[in-house]
Subunit: 205 residues, 3 copies
């Protein structure tokens, strides 16, 4: 199954911006300074993909090839840092959750695709997708000295990504077109995540 | 000094299961959900070896070659997560300490062996063994937002691994058979760790 | 721009000792035992450079080539651990800040130089320099279960490194001699950091 490079790139850009924004919010909540805000935003945006690429031993890293995205987050941190109080008043929690769900779907499926390119077995590829989708946030929470939210709130989040990744893998085995498989799987993840949030679903413990 | 591949593999399987169990316990203590339980168990089981392989730049990673172990931990997390309260009542602290000591011995010596295969100098190889033996637990504690237990309780743990690794290295220099060197060094580590626990020994600070 | 290998090496040795000392202090403040003291000192001293080399996929790591530095920190941990209370009374905060500022300057510029050798684009190279300079301390604080100091105290620290790295890069573009560029940029970072500390400057949040 092959997904065109420009599609994967477009996906990652959107997801990076969403990740960076979530990093801004958390860093400010922890009263971090400009350096913390940039670093946490950077880690949230690129952390999942970077961990995946280190595990896959894939280089150069995405943000090394595209230094423009690192520069973009740097400029955003400079601009957003003083304005974040205003931004948080304008940007509702609803918008953050929606953007984050879009990021989750896109990141996860792109991660599976990348793991398949590196000839990973299926279960590992599905895990690499989840890592790509959630470990930006996990690393953000570790740096912010919190137990990672995604491990403790009992809400379907990583689970949505995991199931969506298997839909993507199944479509691949059924020779569905790569583009269709990618977008529909990402849409599935985003939709189920948003429904779970809307109806406040919890997994049993 | 060469240790047969199937011996190293057998060692790692036992140690992985022990690590996963310790991860289950910690994750539940922190009231994590299913995703947290699986991830923390996975990190505890594979974290030390994965960090060692990243430092050595060795790929593919153990759990990529053997995706069956990742699947095993996944299934165990599904089963163990609801049953963990019962499990903790059945499984005594004594059993956990014993299993963990066995894991420490096996993981550490396997780590030294792997580092020697990668032509590391002796002191670094001994460190790589300790990293393999203890960093699963260190990463578990970092993710669980604790100061790593192994760094603060003053009990001989990493020290046992360190000395045992040097016994292993010394036997190698004396051309002792690889199998004998491996098992006796692992046994030394496990035994000294258990004796230190039994008699509640502390290192000076 | 080429900086002679022995210059880079000399720089890294000084910076490693400074990092190790800072690790000793933090580990003892957290009441860690000998294993914690050694590990935290090691992570503080080598963490930034190791993370950089993992991101750059550069091997063997510095402390693998030079196992004598790892052994040095090991011996220092054995000696320093009982003596640290005395050491902290003898060594003033002023001295620690000065030594740390020297380490920041040297580590950062060495990191940029190393990233350029690996053909990184300029902005990424400047970031790699900052990572080399500050991530030893960041990893130390994460292991010690603290929000990294460098992200939250609002004092110019990483900023000094970032600007100094760009001075180094600019000198490279202007074909200034590598040695002069390296030492003067490191001196700039150390001096501005010390001035910021002396006059208690803060960045806006």
């Amino acid at each position: 199954m092959h997904v065109p490079d420009h599609v994967v790139t477009a996906i990652e850009i959107v997801a990076i911006l969403v990740g960076a924004f979530s990093g801004f919010i958390e860093a400010r909540r922890k009263r971090m300074d400009l350096v913390g805000v940039f670093t946490v935003a950077f880690i949230t945006a690129f952390g999942g993909g970077t961990l995946r690429d280190i595990l896959l031993d894939k280089r150069p890293l995405f943000w090394v090839i595209h230094q423009e995205y690192a520069i973009l987050i740097f400029v955003l941190a400079l601009v957003a840092s003083p304005a974040i109080r205003t931004l948080r008043q304008i940007v509702s929690e609803r918008l953050i959750v929606i953007a984050d769900a879009v990021g989750l779907g896109l990141f996860s499926v792109a991660g599976v695709s990348s793991a398949l390119d590196a000839h990973m077995p299926l279960f590992i590829a599905s895990m690499m997708g989840v890592i790509t989708g959630i470990f930006g946030g996990v690393l953000r929470d570790i740096v912010c000295n919190e137990v990672p939210m995604v491990f403790r709130d009992g809400k379907p989040y990583a689970i949505c990504a995991f199931i969506g990744n298997w839909i993507f893998l199944s479509m691949g085995m059924l020779h569905v077109s790569g583009d269709f498989a990618l977008w529909s799987s990402a849409l599935f993840i985003t939709t189920t995540r948003l429904l779970a949030w809307k109806f406040d679903l919890r997994m049993g413990r």
